[in-house]
């Protein structure tokens, strides 16, 4: 007889995950980079690096600066573009036994639609995550994600061109995130993920120059966790669609905080750079926690916040 293990499975609307742990876009490449250390199949899902129609070289270096308990990045969505993705990465991703979620980014609403339509019919792509929140690109990106109407229009365009569940990824760099969350919910999004990075900068006092060539970048890592957690808490209470929470998650305790705040799944990002093993540690940690606390199904603790 096999011993019963705690059930870690969760649902994101139509999407079923074997556990609530996803990798955050841009921090786990295409799952191949860390293969020697992490088997992507243990994950609830992998969100691949942000994809654009055409390849993007990204911003000039330096692109990364360490900050207290975190880092700033100004990668600028450097990626191989749709064609190379389909030819070089998809065959490998197809064979994975986990949900492959493709994070998409466009310069214009039409580009978002074109990307969604190009990924139509590929059954091994489980869902799309629409990035309307990248702080590191001039056009598009966060410009959509800070405006409720534009957010809704991007969402509609992707839905119109897609046969997959659509997750919209929100920016924390707004006055009231609930307004954006409701706008994308009303536009038909199946789920919401948050947070993308917080815009910030660092200055070298010797050269008196900004440390990032791009001047500003996106802050990630444990430094942003309290901000991320509260934004997730707010969004969960504002909408009726599932929410994926993330921002600064380093260990299973952090993951539990997001689940308790109401997130149905979580994303681990920057932690992977510091500790690739964090992914498996978090999955195991959640399982052990459930066992110790007598929780048979992890879904029962989603939103179980005592207020």
């Amino acid at each position: 007889m096999t011993l019963k293990k705690p059930d870690l499975s969760v649902a994101l609307g139509p999407l079923k995950l074997k556990n609530p742990v996803l990798t955050a876009s841009g921090t786990f490449g295409y799952g191949q980079e860390f293969l020697d250390i992490i088997d992507p199949n243990i994950l609830g899902g992998i969100v691949v690096k942000g994809l654009s129609l055409k390849p993007r070289a990204g911003n000039p270096p330096p692109r990364i600066i360490e900050t207290p308990c975190g880092m700033l990045n100004s990668i600028g969505l450097a990626n191989i573009g749709l064609d190379a993705f389909l030819q070089e990465k998809l065959p490998w991703l197809r064979d994975l036994n986990t949900n492959v979620i493709v994070n998409i980014y466009g310069h214009s609403i039409n580009e978002y639609g074109a990307l969604a339509s190009s990924l139509k019919g590929i059954k091994e792509i489980a869902a799309l995550e629409v990035n309307i929140s990248c702080p590191n690109v001039e056009k598009g990106g966060m410009a959509f994600g800070t405006d409720p109407d534009a957010s809704a229009r991007v969402t509609e365009e992707v839905l119109k061109n897609s046969d997959k569940p659509v997750i919209v990824k929100l920016s924390p760099n707004v006055t009231d995130i609930r307004v954006i969350a409701k706008a994308v919910e009303n536009a038909g999004a199946h789920a919401i993920s948050l947070i993308n990075t917080l815009t910030g900068m660092a200055i070298d006092i010797k050269t008196r120059a900004p440390k990032l060539a791009n001047v500003s970048g996106g802050l990630s890592g444990p430094a942003i966790k309290p901000v991320a957690l509260y934004l997730v808490y707010q969004v969960v209470r504002a909408v009726n669609i599932p929410v994926i929470g993330g921002g600064g998650i380093m260990d299973y305790q952090d993951a539990l905080e997001f689940l308790l705040a109401g997130a149905s799944a979580i994303q681990v990002g920057t932690a992977i750079f510091v500790n690739p093993g964090a992914i498996s540690d978090i999955i195991e940690g959640l399982s052990t926690y459930c066992k110790t606390e007598g929780i048979f199904e992890i879904k029962t603790i989603i939103g179980d916040l005592k207020e």
């Binding site: 980079e33 360490e66 900050t67 308990c69 510091v274």
Partner: protein, 267 residues
């Protein structure tokens, strides 16, 4: 590539602000090649946050050696760790040097701590076919490589302040050497401060000598996932305009890069 707990077997000062770190890294050493590097996690706390990249300076059975200079918070913490303590080490990472063929002669040009990866390379080259040039600021900064698996290797030294070896830049020694006959069979391998590297590249280009350089860049992941370590490639070499130090390098053929743009000063 392996992420393993490595026990510190030695962590001793070998020159001004410079330390030799020895780690018990039985898994990493099995595939490590000269020019490759490791990413070390300094603390299980969140600050300092990122891992630190260090070149591999040598391997002795299951021991992996690193030579590092204390320049900031992370390396200061590293220097305070004691024998017997353990740190998490990820490696081996990146592409290393193309080892010279037995019929070639190697000229190694090190500037300061740039000597770190070259020590490991030198261990793989017949001392008769090796000319190891090394520049330091001053005599107190000089790293004695004879204790690092190179007992038959004499460093050809230059110091900025004329306190030891030839006074002035190490690149002057290189240039003098290349003026001599027999240079066509030479390959130059270099690592050091950017200004020195630019000079080395200029000189080797002038003499049409092959040159491999080991570069630095700020890094987060070290494995090609974050795209953070980009540097400008020479347009003739690669159309994507950026190469990644952690994956495409840290060792590059000098002609692969756009030396007018490559600039670490802001970091």
């Amino acid at each position: 590539m392996i992420d393993q707990k490595t026990e510190i077997i030695i962590n001793k000062k070998i020159a001004e602000a410079t330390y030799l770190l020895g780690l018990n890294a039985h898994k990493i050493v099995s595939t490590a090649k000269p020019g490759q590097f490791v990413m070390i996690r300094l603390t299980s706390e969140n600050d300092p946050f990122l891992r630190r990249p260090f070149s591999i300076s040598g391997i002795l059975e299951d021991r992996l050696f690193i030579i590092y200079r204390v320049i900031g918070q992370g390396t200061r913490i590293l220097s305070s760790l004691q024998k017997g303590e353990s740190i998490q080490t990820l490696g081996p990472l990146g592409k290393g040097f193309t080892i010279p063929r037995p019929d070639q002669k190697a000229v190694l040009v090190a500037g300061g701590l740039g000597i770190a990866p070259l020590v490991f390379l030198a261990q793989k080259i017949d001392p008769d076919r090796l000319n190891f040039l090394a520049g330091f600021r001053s005599a107190k900064d000089v790293i004695d490589v004879r204790g690092l698996g190179l007992k038959d290797v004499e460093l050809n030294l230059a110091t900025d302040d004329h306190s030891l070896g030839q006074g002035g830049a190490v690149t002057n020694i290189l240039e003098d050497l290349l003026f001599k006959p027999g240079r066509s069979e030479l390959t130059v391998f270099s690592c050091g401060p950017l200004l020195m590297l630019k000079q080395v590249v200029k000189i080797t280009k002038k003499f049409r000598i092959e040159c491999q350089v080991s570069l630095e860049s700020n890094m987060a992941c070290g494995v090609g996932a974050c795209q953070g370590c980009a540097i400008e490639s020479a347009s003739s070499y690669d159309t994507s305009s950026y190469l990644h130090v952690c994956k495409d390098g840290p060792v590059f053929k000098s002609e692969a890069l756009d030396w007018n743009k490559y600039d670490l000063k802001k970091t």
